[in-house]
Symmetry: C2
Subunit: 289 residues, 2 copies
């Protein structure tokens, strides 16, 4: 935490994540590793805040103050009403995953989409500009992906989702390059993004978000799920010769953007990535024992 | 912090201290050392909360929640109005230095007096029961000392203070064993407690709280000031053959009581004492360079 690795002191700035549940959040590992690597006298903690208390948690951020706040389920939409302003992306999505101070105002940001684009460009080596993309799912993560892919210059963004009405809302975020589709869209896509929780450890419904028989070599499959370290759909897609990756890079890069918003410094992405993958591997191994 | 020395994680309970100023508080060192020694997944941070915001800080404790809160200047009296209950000692003093949860209620405690008695008994080997005591000063720390010495069975507690009206209020906390006195009371006392900030590093008014020429061997001088590690009055009293100690033990023991109120466990006093003295020595050396 502190510059020389000491425990938190009277000078230590505090940032935190709020959500419910929160105990399995990787944000403390990500941010504490980043603070330590950069020699910043900051510490990051987690608070389990139930849905009706999000306004009180934002008030707590003002009162103490907390120097930065990460926001996760179930608060990403409901927190908006308690802030003083929104970034353009957060306003468009109606969702916030990160709150930062701008002088004495609390401004909500949405860095998930930027995290996806960074992960594609920097980790996967995939350039979204001009690409034909499919996003599976229509929840908050899917909408962030649709908007970010469109902003990054994707040629088209097809949303595949069980509920057509929600798919239309998500696709609308890509303007005239957004459309609703079915699994028929997979064959022609250069990038397929799974934005559903299917395949996540501990997630209730089993099943694959994508029928990998429809995929072929040369395509990129980005699975936002990252626990287990190799998800079922990523394993199956790789057997088809597809360039398939789990979403840990998106988690790291969205946190890197939050880190910079809070501290004004460039994020130590490598240290954050190492912290996240180490902790995920530790949990995976602990379950296997 | 966490069981195996890892940085805070999603499971880590958070306790904190609020005050203004707060950056020089030793509470983070004391409590983080204690959590680490006991293998508790807790972390302790500090928040600088200006006087008018103490109610908001207590609301923040409820919202997040914080699992424990230490309260220091300027909030010890004003925080009372924001709590759900007080311990008997806190109610008598009208002051709180520690807030703990009792099921869903926030209860204020005052552990300064218990910290003084523990320091006298355990560190100095002085038994207050039946003793003739003098307390110099009449502020919050003095009042806690007067009440605690009386509760511990002191034969009498004389309050020496420039302002007689404040001295009378403080002495009243010892009932019919409390009285207001002058420096003439020093010669006959077995214990003299300095509860003024005189001699503290960075404290504005210079001067000695006690004229050590009035003291003699066999008496105990307890100086609540602990920075510098040997205060001017302690150094001078020792030259008179007086058993004189600085107040770091009181700081440690009041924190030990808070630790037990929050965690339900016995406090690792040795580890806390080592953390506090190490940090004080570090600061002292840094100033001398």
């Amino acid at each position: 935490m502190t510059v020389d690795g000491r425990l938190p002191a009277g000078t230590t700035a505090v940032a935190a994540v709020v959500g419910d549940p929160i105990r399995h959040s990787l944000s403390p590992e990500l941010f504490n590793a980043a603070f330590q690597r950069c020699g910043l006298d900051w510490v990051f903690t987690a608070f389990e805040v139930p849905a009706p208390r999000i306004g009180d948690a934002v008030a707590a951020m003002r009162a103490l103050p907390l120097r930065g706040l990460s926001v996760t389920m179930p608060h990403k939409a409901s927190v908006v009403a308690h802030l003083d302003g929104l970034s353009p992306v957060a306003a468009r999505l109606g969702a916030v995953n990160c709150i930062a101070w701008e002088s004495d105002r609390l401004v909500g940001h949405s860095t998930d989409g930027a995290g996806l684009i960074d992960a594609l460009r920097l980790d996967v080596g995939f350039e979204p500009e001009g690409a034909r993309c499919v996003v599976v799912g229509a929840g908050g993560a899917a909408r962030a992906a649709v908007a970010a892919l469109a902003d990054a210059g994707a040629r088209r963004v097809v949303v595949v989702n069980r509920t057509a009405a929600r798919a239309r809302v998500a696709a609308g975020l890509a303007g005239d390059r957004g459309m609703v589709g079915t699994s028929g869209a997979f064959a022609d896509a250069e990038l397929i993004v799974n934005a559903t929780p299917l395949g996540m450890h501990g997630s209730a419904p089993a099943g694959m978000p994508v029928d990998v028989a429809l995929l072929s070599p040369g395509q990129v499959l980005f699975d936002m799920v990252y626990d287990p370290p190799v998800t079922p759909v990523v394993a199956a897609a790789r057997e088809q010769g597809v360039d398939a990756v789990v979403g840990i890079g998106m988690l790291v890069h969205q946190a890197a953007h939050a880190f910079s918003l809070w501290t004004g410094e460039a994020a130590p992405v490598e240290a954050m990535s190492l912290a996240a993958t180490t902790e995920l591997a530790r949990r995976h191994d602990a379950r296997a024992e």
